[in-house]
């Protein structure tokens, strides 16, 4: 009961901050610009996919953590009321995720539907929602662990760099270095450890864009086939959504204010 009320107030506070309109307008401008100026539908979609896979998580990490740091006193006020820590955590987590999902839908998915990219838009929406909740989980985890805002945001940018940039480098290094060994299972496990990779694989398997699979996507397809691969990637994305938010909630329950 209290969760619904807490969610309502967090959500209205977030929606009225400048972040969500700026986030929505930014995504809308990028999406419309790419669709308008690109003559090749597939290329436009790939560009949009990169925005959803790389830019959206970064914005989630920064907004989620800054919001958590700035609302610390409000959270403290709520916790002096007869509400459980679980309700406050869930209220904050869901309102962060759903407000950003609203911005993502209005800014990126709506223009795609307008320009008749409907199937692709549905896939992008699914992947985007997973990434929004996963990276907000990370944002809350780190900002509940580290009290210093600058340090916390710095750590989260490092997390983003790791998943978005360095991880692929590490994988390439591994493939190159161990080229003589069978790496299929290792590749699947390794790519499962990066939610951005899994989200990309999920979309690529569904669209069957073999040229864009990359090594991990190709192994995924070879190992599971397109159909099962999609379900496996969905399962992994669900797990990714649970793990950071579970640890963030655990940390929140023991946190001193």
């Amino acid at each position: 009961m209290n969760l619904r009320k807490i969610f309502k107030y967090f959500f209205s506070d977030i929606i009225r901050s400048k972040w969500i309109p700026v986030y929505t307008v930014l995504l809308f401008a990028l999406t419309s610009g790419i669709i308008y100026f690109s003559r090749d539908g597939q290329k436009a979609f790939i560009s949009l996919l990169n925005i959803a896979l790389y830019l959206v998580p970064l914005l989630c990490l920064i907004f989620g953590s800054v919001y958590n740091y700035n609302s610390r006193e409000f959270v403290e006020m709520l916790l002096t009321q007869p509400v459980t820590r679980r309700s406050v955590f869930l209220g904050q987590y869901l309102s962060l995720g759903l407000s950003q999902t609203a911005g993502f839908v209005l800014g990126m998915i709506l223009p795609l539907f307008i320009y008749d990219f409907s199937i692709n838009a549905a896939l992008l929406l699914a992947a985007g929602i997973f990434l929004i909740f996963i990276f907000n989980g990370f944002a809350l985890l780190v900002s509940n662990m580290v009290n210093d805002k600058v340090k916390g945001v710095g750590i989260l940018i490092a997390v983003w760099l790791f998943f978005a940039v360095f991880y692929d480098g590490l994988m390439l290094f591994m493939f190159y270095y161990f080229a003589d060994y069978p790496l299929e299972k290792t590749t699947i496990i390794a790519s499962s450890l990066n939610p951005v990779d899994v989200a990309r694989t999920f979309i690529m398997l569904r669209l069957d864009m073999s040229a864009l699979f990359g090594y991990t996507g190709a192994v995924f397809k070879k190992y599971f086939g397109s159909g099962a691969g999609i379900y496996v990637s969905l399962l992994i994305l669900h797990l990714w959504m649970i793990v950071p938010s579970f640890f963030a909630s655990k940390k929140f329950k023991r946190k001193d204010f």
């Binding site: 107030y9 916790l79 001193d256």
Partner: protein, 239 residues
């Protein structure tokens, strides 16, 4: 009513709160005093569940508060700084607090009216001055007619007129048989309001004394005692 037994909370090596035993009963104004960093706020926050002690037990009306939240229906809290989300309007902040507390028939609107909260209902919390936010915070702390009211430096940031209104309200609450637990650095305030002084130093209770006020007296004896405590304990080293 509130019982604190063997509570320990440490923040690294720099600070350790250690309360062996503290019993707080109804119908009293109890003041926590001590130099900055002596553990007053940590103790208050432990009672509210904001700080989780490593050891010990805190009970409210005989019920252990560890992991519980319902007991906070009996407590209202006014923090040192007023923590309202800047994008929410005052009326929304009041309705959040009312929404999540147990429904009651009688709300106490005395401070709400005297502090003119009605006139700022449509304003966003971010647009309020520090003093106005403190008045709102005080009005909220007294609105629910709670059994226990916890006030962390309640008059800091309030103008003299509002301070007097608040002090009068504290005395009225005590007469109604409620427990008021407050912290302050203002010695005169303690002699005006308190029935019991708990003086803290380095996380421990140094003095716990009742009835220091002489009926009809001006609190001189008490002021001298507090000055002596501060002087003896070299407050400068704690700053």
């Amino acid at each position: 009513m509130i019982s604190v037994n063997g509570v320990v909370k440490s923040y690294g090596k720099s600070f350790k709160l250690e309360i062996e035993k503290l019993e707080l009963k109804k119908g009293l104004v109890v003041t926590l005093m001590g130099p900055n960093g002596s553990g007053k706020t940590t103790l208050l926050k432990s009672l509210l569940g904001l700080v989780i002690p490593e050891k010990g037990k805190i009970t409210v009306d005989g019920n252990n508060i560890s992991g519980e939240s319902d007991y906070r229906n009996k407590i209202c809290y006014m923090p040192q700084s007023s923590p309202f989300p800047p994008n929410l309007k005052v009326k929304e902040i009041i309705s959040i607090t009312r929404d999540i507390r147990k429904k009651q028939n009688n709300y106490d609107y005395e401070l709400y009216e005297k502090f003119g909260i009605e006139s700022i209902l449509g304003k966003k919390a971010g647009a309020l001055s520090q003093g106005t936010r403190q008045r709102l915070s005080a009005a909220l702390a007294f609105m629910f007619d709670s059994e226990i009211v916890v006030l962390d430096e309640p008059t800091a940031g309030l103008d003299p007129y509002s301070s007097e209104i608040l002090k009068a309200r504290i005395i009225k609450l005590k007469k109604a048989g409620k427990l008021v637990l407050l912290t302050t650095h203002i010695v005169n305030e303690v002699s005006e309001l308190s029935d019991r002084l708990v003086f803290m130093l380095d996380g421990k209770i140094k003095v716990d004394r009742d009835s220091f006020r002489t009926p009809g007296g001006n609190g001189k004896e008490f002021r001298e005692m507090v000055s002596k405590l501060f002087m003896e304990n070299e407050p400068a080293k704690n700053i």
